[in-house]
Amino acid sequence: MCAGVEKIKMKLINLLGVSSALCLCATVAQAQETNKPADVDQRLKQMQEMFEQHERDLEARFEKKIAAQDEVIRSLQQRLAAMPTNPPAAPVAGAAPPANVTGAPDAVTPEKFKALDEKVDEVVAAQKKSLPSEFNPAIGLVGETIFSQQSKGSPQNGTGYPGGFDVYQRSVELMASASIDPFAKGWVVINGSADAATGETSLDVEEAALQTTSLPANLTLTAGQFFGEFGRLSYIHDHELPFVNRPLVLDQYIGGESKTAGAQANWLVPIEHYVNLTAGFGTQFGDNPDAVGSYRSFGAVNYFGRASTYFDLSDNWQLESGASWLINPDSGNVNGELAPNGLTTLTGTKRQIFGGDLKLSYVPLRDNQFNSLTWGNEVLYSDNQYRATPTGGGSAFGESVGAWGMYSYLTYKWSRSWSGGFLFEYVQNNQDNAGRTYSYSPYITWAISHWNQLRLQYTHTQPNSATGNEPNDALYLQWTWIIGAHSHGWQGR
């Protein structure tokens, strides 16, 4: 404050000096014009007196102003000292300083200023860190390695894994997702994997799709390549399954994950009870693309639909169920040998799958991160129609094969990290329903964290002779890890 006052005084003196010099110059000039020395002296004397008086007045006004300002400062200091102060908050081990306190002003201390400065610096640093990535999509990577030991060699074990010991990098899944604009979001899932039998690696676009976010009437539309909503686990990525391998019935009837290239509409029925309806179409459904041929009509694509609902049986018990249907009126993509006659070549003409699923869960509200029980079931019925052409000659004939399969699993979680369960499977071959396979798999999972998980599973497969496979015992150790952002949204819940 003193320095400020001195500065103002200096300015004032300079101003007066300049004013005086100007006045003197003017007076001298006038004196030269009049050429009367006595008058000049008298006038100079008057001017000097005026100047001195003026200077005294200014100084007096200035002193008065300074005194008033000092009074204001004193008053403010008194008010500040009289303000109520919060008891000083105890320092928190490893924590930042306390948050701002609405309605509870703290005493202003240099320590608090310093803490505030540090907090502001942290916030600014955080903004600098995140702002440049605001326009980038959320990116995550999932790695999944499976160590396995099969008692039988390939292809007799019927698992897709080579016989004996194997290390299989099943997937390296890169996912990126973001809003496209106010009306849609988009995502891409690129999966690098090795072929279980040959070890050859390949890069595959599993999903690349957009989904509307603002259609009216509770509708969403998905288009591109995506996992079509069919059944309960067919649109779940491998690494998110509750056990190591995709159930046999989904592998055989759908062809792994329900990958499709097409479009899907989804409608949340606007009632108080949860009912969700889906209808879509795609030029493929599952791992193997349909045969394109030279011309594809609308009759040669897959149409699928699903209705699902949910019931709160109690606060802790939940029931989720659904029914699904898939039809390809002119599939033309299934080639193989029809057993048991073994003398014909099959060409698919029509593909239909009907599915029903039911999941009963015990999810205690209080400690569901440490304790839960899930019983999941799915049954599929496959109705394939073929044109069978005798390989030895003769006229082709129509052949219809109906087959069904199911899986049922029970998973119990007894701590945040540990869970275990049992999977039972049964499937009839969808090209020859005489071929039947049973499978039994106990499994145990250790989730070290959300992003790092180990699973050990034993599987005994018991096929009949019509399948051409042999009973097999397998041990799997699956190690799954995630880096970066990872979410498959509502569908992947």
């Binding site: 008891p87 000083p88 908050a89 105890a90 320092p91 928190v92 081990a93 490893g94 924590a95 930042a96 306390p98 948050a99 701002n100 306190v101 609405t102 309605g103 509870a104 907090k119 942290e122 916030v123 640093a125 955080a126 995140s130 976010t213 603002s214 259609l215 509770n218 509708l219 969403t220 949340l268 606007p270 009632i271 108080e272 009870h273 949860y274 969700n276 949910y310 019931f311 709160d312 606060d315 939940q318 989720e320 999810v363 509200l365 209080r366 400690d367 569901n368 991160q369 440490f370 701590s415 945040r416 990290s417 964290s449 959300h450 992003w451 880096i483 979410s487 949204g489 509502w490 819940r493």
Partner: protein, 303 residues
Amino acid sequence: MKLKLCCLTLLALTLGAVQTQAAKLRVVATLTDVADLTRNVGGEFVEVRSLATGIEDTHGVPLKPSFVPLMNRADLVVLVGFDCEHAFLSALLEASRNPRIQPGKAGYVDCSKGISPLDVPKSTDHSEGDVHPYGNPHYTLDPVLMESAVKTICAALIAVAPEHEADFVKNRDAYLAKLDAKITEWQATLAPFKGTKFVSYHEHWPYFAARFGLEYYGTIELKPGIDPTPHHIEDLIASMKSEHVPLVVREPQFPEKVPALIAEKTGAKLVKLPIMPGGVPNTDTYLAEMDYIVNTIANALKK
């Protein structure tokens, strides 16, 4: 003629009932604390449903499909914010198909707005566990900061139903007056225990500790969302003994075994404290919950 009259009367009554119901704002609150504040400010003009019942972990509310129709019809969704609801809210918002309550819209009421967070991580690397990128979200246990949440909720209600502004403001002021009085009472109750150190299972308590002059010493969890390792438990017991930490707080949704062991080995008192209304019996409102927390701590430290 009589039949027509009856039908018309019935129709009028039905429409009247529907209109009365429609006049209420449908609010979905994520957790019971912000639900209680909304009820207090919104009064008779709101119908508030909470996704949590109070006994859940704030990060572990089950993702039930039955929440979707609620969210679909909601005029407002009121949330704690700072990513507290990361485990369930974003998927529910996606499934709700409700443009009114999406982030950035008037119906998306983030109560953390205007609150300066503690423990903002310098890095969100997962080596630090399940960190909250915006900072510790558990400011709801600081009643002074909840005054800010009350004001945020009031402003949001006024924005969507300006015709009830006077009522909302009156309710807000009445609730803030009650809260202010309680804060003075709680501060007086805990004043004798200033500087007392305590540990808890999860990092729920830094704001509470700072407000009431206690010292938050650490967590039983190794890192947020990561279970304690034997080595961490041993270290914690040793340091608690040397620092004379007299209190172990267990949130009810976490297992009792490890906190009880630590309390036994260190001679500290073990208390079970809710982290939102309804977490333990007779704590159905925010004021009742805070009463319970303050009195339980005071009683434990007195003995």
